[in-house]
C-alpha cells in the first residue's frame, strides 16, 4: 500500500470539505444533529454525541475561511499540473 504524504493531505482536504458542506438548518437539524441539540445539561459530562456535534460545529466555524484559500490553491495546482 503505497501511501504518500500527498495522499494524506488530499484526504485531509476532502474530509474537511465534506464536514464544511453540511448545512446547519437544512440538514443537520432535520436529522437531529443541530447545534441546539448538542448542548445537553450543564451538570454532567457531555457524552459522545454532544462532543461530535460540537466538533462538527467548531470545524465548520474555524475552517471556513482557510478552506477557501486551500481549495483555491488546490484548484490552481490541479489545473496547472494535472
Amino acid at each position: 500500500m503505497a501511501f504518500t504524504l500527498y495522499a494524506l493531505i488530499q484526504t485531509a482536504i476532502l474530509f474537511t470539505n465534506a464536514i464544511a458542506v453540511l448545512h446547519e438548518e437544512r440538514f443537520l437539524s432535520k436529522i437531529g444533529w443541530g447545534a441546539e441539540q448538542g448542548i445537553g445539561g450543564f451538570g454532567d459530562e457531555p457524552g459522545i454525541k454532544a462532543q461530535l456535534l460540537n466538533l462538527i460545529r467548531s470545524v465548520r466555524t474555524v475552517m471556513r475561511v482557510p478552506l477557501i484559500a486551500v481549495n483555491s490553491v488546490c484548484i490552481v495546482l490541479l489545473l496547472l499540473f494535472g
Partner: protein
C-alpha cells in the same frame, strides 16, 4: 593614490606570509594554502599574532574589518531569530525530555516490549508534578526507541525486499512515507477518540507518537525472523510480538486513561469506565493489526 598602493603592498606581503608555510618552491601545492593565513588572521584578532604583517593587513583595511563585524552580527541575529521562531512550532525543550535516555533504559525497555509479563509496577514516577526523565524511570515514554525503530524498520524492509529481488532505491522512500502516513493516521484517530470520550488525561501528542512507535520493535523482530527462518518463523515471532505489544499497550495506557480505582483492578461500575476500557482495548488491538499490515508484504 597612496592608499591603494599601500594596501596592495601590504596584501602582497600578506600573500607572501601565507605562502611561506606552504613552501612556494613545493610543486605539489596547486594553489595558495589560505587556511594558515586565515588562522593567522583570527589569531591576530584574538591574541598576539605570530607576525606583524598579517595583523597590520587586517587592521589597516577597515572595510574588511567592518564586513567581518557586520557579517558575524547578521549571523548571530539570524540564528537567534530562527531559534525563537522554531521554538514556537516545535517545542524543542519538551522534545529533549523524550531523548534523555541511556543504554540501560533502552535495554530494559526493549526487553519489556518483548516480554512484559513479569513487570509489576507500571506507574510513572513523578517529581513535583513533572514526570521524571526516562533515564530514571523505565515506565516513562521516550522517543528514542520509536525513531530508531522506524529507521531500522525502513532498512530492514529494504533488506527483505532486496532478498526477493524487488528492491529499487525508490522503494525505501515509498516504505518510509507509507509507514509515516499510517503513524499519523493512527495518532490522529487516537486523539479524536480521546476527545470524543472526554478523557481527562495528561497524555500529550508526543506521548501518543511514542506509544504508537513502540510497535516497530515487534515488526523488526518479526521481519528478521522471517528472513532467517522463513514464513513459519515470521508468523510465530510476529504472533509473539503482537501479543506482547498488546499486553504492554494495555498495561501502560490503562493507568493513563482509566480512573484511579479502575486502574488498580477493582471493578468499577459505570458506563464511563466501561467506555474508557473499550477505548484502551481498541487502541491496543490496533497495534497488532498495523504490525501485520505493514510487514506481511515483506515476507513471501
Amino acid at each position: 593614490m597612496e592608499y591603494p598602493n599601500q594596501s596592495g603592498f601590504r596584501q602582497q606581503a600578506g600573500v607572501r606570509m601565507r605562502g611561506t608555510p606552504g613552501d612556494p618552491r613545493d610543486p605539489s601545492l596547486l594553489f595558495d594554502d589560505t587556511s594558515a593565513g586565515g588562522d593567522k588572521h583570527d589569531l591576530s584578532g584574538v591574541g598576539k599574532g605570530p607576525g606583524v604583517c598579517p595583523g597590520q593587513a587586517l587592521i589597516s583595511d577597515p572595510m574588511s574589518n567592518l564586513a567581518l563585524a557586520y557579517g558575524s552580527s547578521l549571523a548571530s541575529h539570524g540564528r537567534e531569530m530562527m531559534d525563537k521562531n522554531l521554538d514556537r512550532f516545535i517545542p524543542i525543550s519538551k522534545l529533549k525530555y523524550y531523548f534523555a535516555v541511556d543504554t540501560v533504559y533502552v535495554g530494559k525497555k526493549l526487553g519489556l516490549l518483548v516480554f512484559p509479563y513479569m513487570h509489576d509496577n507500571w506507574e510513572v514516577i513523578y517529581q513535583q508534578d513533572t514526570p521524571v526523565a526516562p533515564r530514571f524511570d523505565i515506565n516513562a515514554p521516550d522517543l528514542y526507541i520509536p525513531v530508531m525503530g522506524f529507521i531500522t524498520y525502513i532498512l530492514v524492509a529494504g533488506l527483505a525486499l532486496g532478498t526477493q529481488n524487488r528492491f529499487s532505491p525508490e522503494i525505501l522512500g515509498i516504505q518510509a512515507s507509507s509507514a509515516l502516513v499510517w503513524l499519523i493516521i493512527e495518532v490522529l484517530a487516537v486523539l479524536l477518540s480521546l476527545y470524543l470520550v472526554t478523557v481527562n488525561t495528561d497524555l500529550t501528542t508526543i506521548d501518543l507518537v511514542a506509544f504508537s512507535g513502540y510497535k516497530y520493535v515487534g515488526m523488526i523482530v518479526g521481519v528478521i525472523a522471517g528472513l532467517l527462518f522463513g514464513r513459519m518463523g515470521y508468523h510465530l515471532s510476529l504472533l509473539w510480538c503482537c501479543v506482547s505489544t498488546f499486553v504492554f499497550t494495555i498495561r501502560t495506557l490503562r493507568l493513563k486513561i482509566l480512573s484511579e480505582a479502575a486502574a488498580e483492578g477493582r471493578l468499577v461500575r459505570g458506563a464511563k469506565n466501561q467506555l474508557r476500557m473499550y477505548l484502551t482495548m481498541a487502541i491496543a488491538a490496533a497495534q497488532p493489526v498495523f504490525m501485520y499490515w505493514l510487514t506481511f508484504h515483506l515476507v513471501r
